[in-house]
């Protein structure tokens, strides 16, 4: 066998081993698409509540509302909170499902070292962002919720991209830029939110599926 050919093969082998052991590569493009569809659905359902066509308070009993007013649990009495929770959960579960299917196909354990590292590095900016937005709600700064979500999510993706498919980084940049632009268009938050979590996810998912999963 040709010496050069052999050395090249060895180098490629080393490279793929390094990648495989340090990055979580089972992230499926379909996960992005499904999460995006969930986000668009959530945005559509919440539209009437956000822009005041429907009352966002679930229980109209004023006494209860006032009793809760000083408490965070007033959040639990809004339709928006439950729509957001359902959207988040369905996006997470569907994204998880397609990635689980892909990892089974590749024979890579879903909950290995690389997945753990990815989760931890993704969750640090997300948790900080969640706490920040939670406090912002407390002070009634609702207009900054959507840009806040986009900015922190973008930062989380940029941070996580070192531990998964490198293209995730560009999705992170896009979310970040969208969030920052949104800071100057407060009041259009839901549109920006839908564009970021819905359309960008779907576009990214389709691209990734085309590149990585189509032939698999």
């Amino acid at each position: 066998m040709n010496q050069q050919q052999q050395s090249l093969e060895t180098l490629q082998n080393i490279r793929s081993m390094m990648e495989q052991s340090s990055r979580f590569i089972s992230l499926s493009g379909l996960s992005g698409i499904s999460a995006g569809i969930c986000a668009l659905t959530g945005a559509a359902v919440s539209y009437d509540y956000v822009y005041g066509y429907k009352d966002y308070i679930i229980n109209e009993n004023v006494a209860i509302v006032q009793a809760l007013a000083k408490d965070y649990s007033i959040l639990l009495n809004t339709w928006l909170f439950w729509i957001a929770a359902a959207t988040f959960l369905s996006a997470l579960l569907s994204a998880f499902f397609f990635t689980w299917v892909k990892s089974r196909k590749q024979g890579i354990p879903l909950w290995g070292k690389t997945a753990k590292r990815l989760m931890i590095n993704m969750c640090i900016p997300l948790l900080a962002g969640a706490i920040f937005i939670f406090r912002m709600l407390h002070f009634g700064t609702f207009g900054l919720v959507a840009p806040g979500c986009l900015i922190f999510y973008g930062l989380a993706l940029i941070n996580a991209s070192k531990y998964t498919l490198p293209e995730v980084r560009y999705l992170g940049y896009a979310q970040l830029v969208l969030g920052i632009i949104n800071l100057w268009f407060v009041g259009y938050g839901l549109y920006f939110w839908a564009a970021g979590f819905g359309i960008l996810h779907i576009a990214y998912g389709v691209y990734m599926w085309w590149i990585y999963d189509r032939n698999a």
Binding site: Q3, Q4, L11, M17, M18, Q20, S21, I108, G112, K113
Partner: protein, 99 residues
């Protein structure tokens, strides 16, 4: 000119050992099961390669416990890192030489 093959370390002359080394280059430590899953080989095969690398002081082994199960961790030594880098340099030179 000296034959570049002379610089290739015989110790790394197998797919499994290359796999172990490249993995340990980018991960601070790996345990036995993680290596096994990644390389998809049998326990015995992996153990014998790990033993050979350990004997040459290329990797270090530490045993611990997760609950009641033993957890054997492998790390690359300073010497092992140097040796593997030299091996990669030799591979690179060989590719250039034959161009």
């Amino acid at each position: 000119m000296k034959n570049p093959i002379d610089h290739l370390n015989k110790l790394f002359d197998s797919r499994v050992r290359l796999g172990i080394m490249s993995t340990l280059m980018v991960n601070a430590d790996m345990n036995f099961n993680e290596l096994k899953e990644l390389l998809q080989i049998t326990d015995g095969n992996l153990a014998s390669h790990l033993k050979a690398l350990e004997a040459q002081n290329i990797i270090s082994v530490s045993k611990g416990f997760i609950g009641r199960k033993t957890n054997t961790m492998y790390r690359i030594t300073k010497f092992g890192e140097k040796a593997f880098k030299a091996h990669l340099d030799a591979l690179e030179k060989m590719i250039r030489a034959t161009k």
